[in-house]
C-alpha cells in the first residue's frame, strides 16, 4: 500500500465484476413483477450460505411492481431512518421507467421466505457490465468488511443506498421494465419498438395515434425477453433524477400515521411488555438476582435471570421498568484492567509509546518520512484526543417479539433485518424460514441499529415466558449498555521545508476500523507520508457511528493541517489549496466554499472562521464555520458547506442529509463525551449527554457541485467529518487557542 489517492485504489477493484440477475413474473390478478438482485458468482456469493442457504435461494434486493390500476410500486430493500432513501430510490426507478411520479408508491421489502426464495421470478444470471460499486472501495480490507456485513444484511449503512441499490438496481429494474412494456406494446400494435415513446406511465406510438397505460401491458410484458443490461439514461435524459421531488414518507410523519418500530401493534397479538437491565461493565454477567421487592408489584407477570441480563415482564412498560428498578442484581467482576477514562487513554498512550518513533503497523506509506523529517526546516508535533460517543437515537431501542409453534416474528427498528434473522436463528434454535423480521421506520439510528442484540433479548424473553412482548430499553440502558464510537488518541509529527510546504507527515493512533482510508490524508499531495497504528485494547464494544473512523480522523487530520498552515505562516485556505493542486475536484470544492463564505473578508471583533475539507463515502465536503468568541464562549454563527458527490439525485434530500451531518458533528464537537467510571459508562440520559439545541444551531448553507462522470457519492455521513475541525480551527483563529481535544464546550465553561 503505497499509493494514497482514492481513485487509484478504486481501480484495483476492477476485477470484482458484479454479477446479478433480473427476473420477471406475473402477479396474481395480473400485473408485472420484476426482481433484481445478486447471487452466486459475485463476490457476495462466497458468503451466500449466510443469506441464502437453500438450493435456488437468491438474495433479491429490489423489486418493481406494476399493478393493473397503473400504480407502480418500488419495493426497496433499505430501511427508512429519516434519511429519505425510500423515496429517492423510487425516484431513480421511476425515472428509468418513465413512470408517473404521482402514481408511484414505495414499499419496504420484507425479509420473509418469499422475498429470499425467488420462485416467483424466472431467474436469469448474467454479469453486469457496470463496475463494482465504488462504495466498497478502496482497500481490500474495507471491501471485505463491507461485503461481510452486506452478506448477512439488507444493510442500510455506509451512505450507500442511493449509490449502490439506486444506481445498480433500481435504475436497472426500471429500465428493464420499461423495455419489456415497450416490447409488449410493439408486438400488439405491430410497430417497431423504437417508435414507441414512454411518458407518465403511458406508451405512445405517435405515427398510428395509439396509446396505452403501462397497466394495460403489464401482464403481457412478463412474457417479453428481458434485457439483463438495459441501457440507462444519461444525465440529459433525466426527468426525475436530479430534481427535489417531495419525499413520499413525509406526509405520514407529519400527520402521525407513519409507523415506527416502537409503534408495532401486530393485529391479533396481545402483547405484554418487558424492561431489561444488562451488566454495567462489558464482559460481565448476572451473579445473582433478588426479586423479592419486585414480584408483588402491580402488573408484574414474570421476572427472569437470563444469565446475561435480567428482565421483568409486565402488563405495561411502566410497570415492568418500575419493578425492574426494585430487582437487586449483583454482577460478576470484570477482568478488564480498564476502569476509568484515564485507564483507556493510558492504554492507548502506552501502546503508542511502545511502538515508538517508527514502530507499529503501517497503514499507508509514501516516500520516506524519516529522511524528509530529518531534513525539515521546521518541525511540529501534536497529540489529539476524542472520547467515546453514543448514538442516542430519538426512538428508544425496542423489539416486539412473538415466539410460538416453532415460529418467531419480530417487529423492530433495524438497519440489518437479515442479520437480525441470523442472530435469532442462532439464539433460538428456530430455522430461518420460520423467522420473520418486520421492520417499519426507524426513529433515527446513526449506526446504533446495526446489531441484533436487543432483538435476540426480546425473542429469548418471549420464548422463555410464552408471552408475546414488546421490549423497550430505557434511555439509560441505551446510553450505558450499547456499542460505542471509540475514544481515540492520535499523534502527529510534521516537517515543513524552507517555504513552509508540508513535506513530511507521520501519524500514529490505535483504533483502525472502517473505512480503512479514513486516516489517510490522501487528498493532499504530501511527498512523504506515513500512517501507523499501534494495537491497544478497547474497553467498550465498537460501533459504527455516523461516518465511523472519519468522525475521529476528520478532526485530527484537518486540525493538524491547520497547525501546519499556522506554522508556515500561511492562510489555512490557501495552504490547503496549494496541497490540492493535483486534485481538481477537491480544489474546486474548496474554492467554492471560500467563495460562498466570503473567506478572508474582515469580521467583527471576536469573530473568526475556520475551514476543513474531508472526502468520505465517495463525497467531497468542505466547510467553513464562523464562530463568535466575544462572550468568551463559542457561539456558532454560520456554516457554509460545499459538496461534490458526483451527481446528486435529490438535491433537497441531499442537503437535508448534509445539514443533519453537520448538526450531528457539531453536537459531538461541542458536547459529546462518555466517561468510564468503575468500568461502566457514567452518562445516562440527555441531561448529561447533551444535544445541540435549536437556539445553538448556526445558520447552514449547503451548495452542491455536480462534477458528474464519476461514481456518485453518499449523503448520510459525509457532512459530519469536516464540522468539528472547521469549528476548532475557527476558535483557534479567534482566540489563538488550539483545541486538541473534544468536546469543546467544557473547555470554555
Amino acid at each position: 500500500m503505497n499509493d494514497l489517492t482514492p481513485e487509484k485504489k478504486r481501480s484495483g477493484l476492477a476485477k470484482w465484476s458484479r454479477r446479478g440477475f433480473i427476473g420477471a413474473g406475473v402477479l396474481a390478478g395480473g400485473g408485472l413483477l420484476i426482481g433484481i438482485g445478486v447471487r452466486s458468482g459475485n463476490p457476495i456469493g462466497a458468503l451466500a450460505p449466510k443469506v441464502a442457504s437453500g438450493e435456488g435461494e437468491q438474495l433479491v434486493n429490489s423489486w418493481v411492481k406494476i399493478d393493473t390500476d397503473n400504480v407502480i410500486t418500488a419495493i426497496v430493500p433499505h430501511c427508512e431512518m429519516g434519511q429519505g432513501a425510500h423515496s429517492v430510490l423510487a425516484q431513480m426507478l421511476a425515472d428509468e421507467l418513465d413512470a408517473d411520479w404521482s402514481q408511484v408508491r414505495v414499499q419496504q421489502a420484507p425479509t420473509d421466505g418469499s422475498y429470499i426464495v425467488t420462485d416467483t421470478a424466472r431467474a436469469f444470471v448474467a454479469p453486469f457490465t457496470m463496475n463494482a460499486a465504488d462504495w466498497i472501495e478502496p482497500t481490500w480490507d474495507g471491501l471485505f468488511t463491507q461485503i461481510g456485513l452486506m452478506a448477512d444484511a439488507l444493510i442500510t449503512g455506509g451512505s450507500s443506498s442511493i449509490r449502490t441499490t439506486g444506481q445498480y438496481q433500481m435504475r436497472v429494474a426500471g429500465a428493464a421494465a420499461r423495455k419489456m412494456l415497450v416490447g409488449a406494446a410493439a408486438d400488439e400494435w405491430g410497430v417497431p419498438a423504437s417508435e414507441i415513446e414512454t411518458k407518465d406511465s403511458t406508451l405512445i406510438h405517435a405515427a398510428s395515434g395509439k396509446s396505452a397505460t403501462y397497466a394495460e401491458f403489464a401482464t403481457a410484458a412478463a412474457d417479453q425477453p428481458m434485457d439483463q443490461t438495459p441501457t440507462l439514461k444519461t444525465a440529459d435524459q433525466y426527468t426525475l433524477i436530479g430534481k427535489s421531488k417531495a419525499r413520499k414518507d413525509i406526509p405520514g410523519k407529519v400527520n402521525g400515521t407513519a409507523k415506527f418500530g416502537i409503534d408495532a401493534a401486530p393485529e391479533g397479538v396481545e402483547f405484554s411488555y418487558s424492561a431489561t437491565v444488562r451488566p454495567p461493565v462489558p464482559g460481565t454477567s448476572v451473579a445473582s438476582m433478588d426479586a423479592s421487592r419486585a414480584k408483588d408489584m402491580a402488573g408484574v407477570l414474570q421476572i427472569l435471570n437470563m444469565g446475561d441480563f435480567v428482565a421483568v415482564v409486565a402488563d405495561s412498560y411502566w410497570q415492568a421498568q418500575q419493578a425492574l428498578n426494585r430487582v437487586d442484581v449483583t454482577w460478576t467482576k470484570s477482568e478488564s484492567p480498564i476502569k476509568t477514562t484515564a485507564d483507556q487513554y493510558a492504554a492507548y498512550t502506552s501502546a503508542m509509546d511502545e511502538a515508538g518513533a517508527d514502530g507499529g503497523e503501517e497503514a499507508a506509506t509514501k516516500g520516506n518520512f524519516g529522511e524528509a523529517f530529518a531534513g525539515a526546516a521546521t518541525t511540529l508535533e501534536a497529540e489529539y484526543k476524542v472520547p467515546y460517543l453514543a448514538h442516542a437515537p430519538m426512538e428508544p431501542i425496542n423489539c416486539t417479539a412473538m415466539v410460538a409453534d416453532g415460529k418467531c416474528d419480530v417487529w423492530t427498528s433495524t438497519q440489518v433485518p437479515l442479520r437480525v434473522r441470523t442472530e435469532l436463528n442462532a439464539a433460538l434454535g428456530i430455522d430461518k424460514e420460520n423467522i420473520t423480521v418486520h421492520h417499519p421506520y426507524l426513529g433515527g439510528s446513526f449506526g446504533r441499529r446495526l446489531e441484533g442484540v436487543y432483538t435476540v433479548m426480546a425473542a429469548r424473553i418471549a420464548q422463555a415466558t410464552g408471552y408475546p412482548i414488546k421490549a423497550i430499553w430505557s434511555r439509560e440502558e441505551d446510553t450505558q449498555k450499547a456499542l460505542y464510537r471509540p475514544a481515540e488518541i492520535s499523534r502527529f509529527k510534521a516537517g515543513l521545508d524552507e517555504s513552509g510546504t508540508l513535506v513530511a507527515y507521520d501519524n500514529i493512533f490505535t483504533q483502525r476500523n472502517d473505512p480503512a482510508e479514513a486516516s489517510v490524508p490522501g487528498i493532499y499531495s504530501i511527498p512523504n507520508t506515513r500512517v501507523r497504528t499501534a494495537e491497544a485494547p478497547l474497553h467498550l464494544p465498537f460501533a459504527a457511528w455516523r461516518s465511523v473512523d472519519h468522525s475521529q480522523h476528520g478532526f485530527f487530520i484537518e486540525s493538524f493541517i491547520d497547525e501546519a498552515a499556522h506554522a508556515a505562516g500561511a492562510d489555512p485556505y490557501e495552504y490547503r489549496l496549494a496541497m490540492l493542486k493535483d486534485a481538481p475536484r477537491q480544489s474546486a470544492v474548496l474554492k467554492k466554499v471560500a467563495e460562498i463564505s466570503d473567506w478572508g473578508a474582515p469580521l467583527a471583533e471576536g469573530r473568526a472562521k475556520g475551514i476543513a475539507i474531508v472526502e468520505s463515502f465517495g463525497s467531497i465536503v468542505a466547510q467553513v464555520i464562523e464562530v463568535d468568541m466575544s462572550s468568551g464562549k463559542p457561539k456558532l454563527e454560520n456554516v457554509w458547506a460545499v459538496c461534490d458527490a458526483g451527481y446528486v439525485v435529490n438535491p433537497d434530500g441531499f442537503k437535508n442529509q448534509i445539514e443533519g451531518g453537520i448538526v450531528f458533528g457539531l453536537t459531538a464537537a461541542m458536547y459529546g463525551e462518555l466517561d468510564l467510571v468503575d468500568g461502566g459508562v457514567k452518562q445516562s440520559n440527555f441531561h448529561d449527554y447533551k444535544m445541540l439545541r435549536m437556539d445553538e444551531t448556526p445558520g447552514i448553507m449547503v451548495e452542491i457541485i455536480n462534477s458528474g462522470d464519476v461514481p456518485i457519492g453518499g449523503a448520510g455521513e459525509p457532512g459530519l467529518p469536516p464540522a468539528a475541525p472547521a469549528l476548532a480551527n475557527a476558535i483557534f483563529a479567534a482566540t489563538g487557542k488550539r483545541l486538541r481535544e473534544l468536546p469543546i464546550a467544557k473547555q470554555f465553561a
Partner: protein, 157 residues
C-alpha cells in the same frame, strides 16, 4: 497487518454466530407470577378491601406521572417544572428561583384541592398561557390523591 487480523476475527465471530449453537441459552432463574393464559389473580389489596385507602400513599404513587418534570422533595431542585414541596396552601408561581410563565405568576390562584383539581385536569384551560403544556391528569381520583400528597408535604413546613 493488524487490520486484517481484526477483520478476520470479526468475520469468525459472524460465522460462529451463524452456525453456532442452535440450542437456546438456558434461563438461569424464572419467577412466574402469572403464566400466559392464566387469569389475573383477584386483586390482593387488603387496605382497599377494607375500604381504607391511604390517599397520600396513592397520591405519591400517582405523582410518578408528574416526575418527568417535577419533584416534591424537600429542597429538591427545579426541573423542567418547579419543585412542588410545600406548594399546597401557597399562591401559584411563588417558588423561588423558577421561571414561571407570566400567566401563572400573575394569577391570583392559591393551591388547594379545588384549584389543583381544575389545574391538573387541564392546565392550559385553567391558566391560559401557562408553560405547563403537558401532564394533565385525566382521572379525578388521581388528581385528588396527588393534591393530598402535595398537601402532606406542606404539613409542618
Amino acid at each position: 497487518m493488524r487490520n486484517t487480523a481484526f477483520l478476520a476475527a470479526g468475520l469468525l465471530t459472524l460465522a460462529l454466530a451463524a452456525c453456532g449453537s442452535s440450542e437456546p441459552a438456558p434461563v438461569v432463574e424464572q419467577i412466574v407470577i402469572r403464566a400466559p393464559g392464566e387469569p389475573a389473580a383477584a386483586p390482593d389489596a387488603p387496605a382497599e378491601a377494607a375500604g381504607v385507602i391511604d390517599k397520600v400513599a396513592f397520591g405519591e404513587e400517582a405523582f410518578a406521572q408528574c416526575s418527568g418534570c417535577h419533584n416534591a422533595d424537600p429542597g429538591g431542585p427545579h426541573q423542567a417544572g418547579p419543585n412542588l414541596h410545600g406548594v399546597f396552601g401557597q399562591p401559584a408561581g411563588s417558588k423561588e428561583g423558577y421561571p414561571y410563565s407570566d400567566a401563572l405568576a400573575s394569577s391570583d390562584i392559591t393551591w388547594d384541592f379545588a384549584s389543583l383539581d381544575r389545574f391538573l385536569s387541564n392546565p392550559a384551560a385553567y391558566v391560559e398561557g401557562t408553560s405547563m403544556v403537558a401532564g394533565a391528569v385525566r382521572d379525578a381520583e388521581e388528581r385528588a390523591a396527588i393534591a393530598a400528597y402535595l398537601a402532606s408535604t406542606s404539613e409542618g413546613s
